[in-house]
Amino acid sequence: MAMVIGLVADLNAQTVSLNMESGNRSIDAANCWSFPSVSYTNTSSSVISGSYTAQTGQLSGSTHSVISPWLLNPSGTITFKHRLSTNNSATDRKMRVISYDYNTMQYDTLYTYANYTSANATTAVSASVSINKSGVFKLFFSFTGTSGNSRGLIDDIIIPATYNSSPANGCIPANTATDTDGDGVIDSQDDYPNDATLAFNNYMNANYSSLMFEDLWPGKGDYDFNDLVVNYRVNRITNASNKIAKAQMVVVLRAIGASYKNGFAFQINNLSPSKIISISGQKLNESLYTLSSNGTEASQTYAVIPVFDNALKTIGYTGGGSGVNVETNGGSIAYDSTTLTINFDVSGTGVSLSAFGGSTFNPFIVINQTRGRELHKANDIPTSLVNNALFGTVQDRSNPSQGVYYKTANNHPWVIETSSSIAYMKEKNQLTAGYLKLIDWVISGGTSYTDWYSNTSSGYRDASKIY
């Protein structure tokens, strides 16, 4: 009868153990064991059992420990094996087991072994240590010594306790962190700790990007790429299921080096318009776009979000002629900032960061209020409302069947985007005249001078040509 009770007790007992047989401290460290000045060895003369044993550095003045994860209510008998690597300075060495209380921050020495001698130092000691504590604790299995080159060895640690660490949250004690909105993301990690529908900011671009357009497409322009200049940054806010719940896009209209009334929009390639619930913040003063009820453009295969429909009106330019913020001897107008908020449908598979990411983000302008005359970056696909008859005309050498769009016969684009904000060109000054390494970047096939737009060292820019 006693044996049956004992057996039941063993089946119900919880233990936390470490036998080093992973052979990789990193795996055990990921599960919240710590190894200050301790490694794993598989040298046969050092291994206590199995293939691997934990081994300290040379015990010459510092403490070397194997530290357990956080444990709940350790109670019973701790067992482990320990010895030294050699008998060098054996009597100088001590081995201790020390508990640390999470709540009181108090240490308690549970076991001290000071009996290493030159005769017994390399013979493994099978230790049994009683513990009876309530609460959350760590255990330190520590070796100390003041001089000499012998090392501590320890193996087969078994602790009667419940594992109580949180490996995925930096190994803090489990169930101690606050999650105010109950979305599963602890407050310290949650960008929106009081909103269960939002969790993480995910900026598509780390800094504002610049988009610079030549708007005479399909005809060539003057290569100053300042007919329309905008900066933009997109924050895709995901929930605890990593689905995009909301996106916030800031578009800063900086310059208009032309007289055309251009609109700016973007398409999310391959995304159904129905995945968007609503859009707010658009600046629409003309009848250029026909919108669906959710704010996306109607009659589109993919989601198309208009931002503004007339750059000149958006920036508040009421004068005649052309040129806003591109001539240094002309007047300047304050940049215009537009903030869009886009709400996404998170049901079902929702919208992933890949579905609305840098490779699917497809910005474009609509030239001079002619809806079918839309201009995208080189090789970006047009929307459903493009006038396909414009491809291959004037200087455009698009070949849609080959996936080639918006390039000239010399493979020039009409749009330049930089991954960080840059100063744009003064009117009638080619981009190559201001950014002196752009040509070298191009002829290298993009392998050299990848910083042509961001490097301000000598030889990279001619500031006299840059606005």
């Binding site: 460290a29 990921a30 599960n31 995925a168 949250n169 780390a206 990593n242 840098g358 080189a378 190559t432």
Partner: protein, 139 residues
């Protein structure tokens, strides 16, 4: 006869020049300009050049066996300047895979998950590794 011979010689002369011109045109192909272009008018970009200052990278990090299999934690990917490229929830025993658009010049990313905080090189647009921490060597 004399006039005919002269005309014939002139024809041959002109033909020779024309053929030489054609031969010269065929030799000048895009991507092999021997003189550095000075401006856009002189620039032939490689046909495959996409003018992108960003690149798409695929991050693939193997998970590990965990003592808390039902847990999830936040994984953060940053660039060399600690700008956050990605934040999301992840289970440690699963492989983490994510495509990100980053500047062309970016050479390493920093990965933070659980107790792991390490730099990983970008090799031909892939970042491969594990979610395990890197521990210092012990002498």
């Amino acid at each position: 006869m004399k006039a005919t011979s002269t005309s014939f010689l002139a024809f041959v002369f002109i033909l020779g020049i024309s053929l030489s011109s054609c031969k010269r045109d065929v030799e000048v192909t895009p991507n092999t300009q021997s003189v550095r272009p000075a401006n856009f008018e002189e620039l032939d970009a490689p046909s495959s050049f996409d003018w992108e200052t960003n690149k798409s990278i695929l991050i693939s990090l193997t998970g590990y066996a965990t003592s808390a299999p039902n847990e999830q934690g936040v994984i953060t990917i940053m660039d060399e300047n600690e700008n956050v490229l990605y934040r999301g929830f992840h289970s440690p025993q699963l492989t983490f895979e994510q495509e990100l658009l980053v500047p062309q010049a970016l050479k390493t990313v920093r990965v933070k998950f659980g107790v792991t905080d390490k730099l990983i090189q970008i090799n031909t647009n892939t970042v491969s590794g594990t979610l395990l921490p890197v521990l210092p060597d012990v002498n």
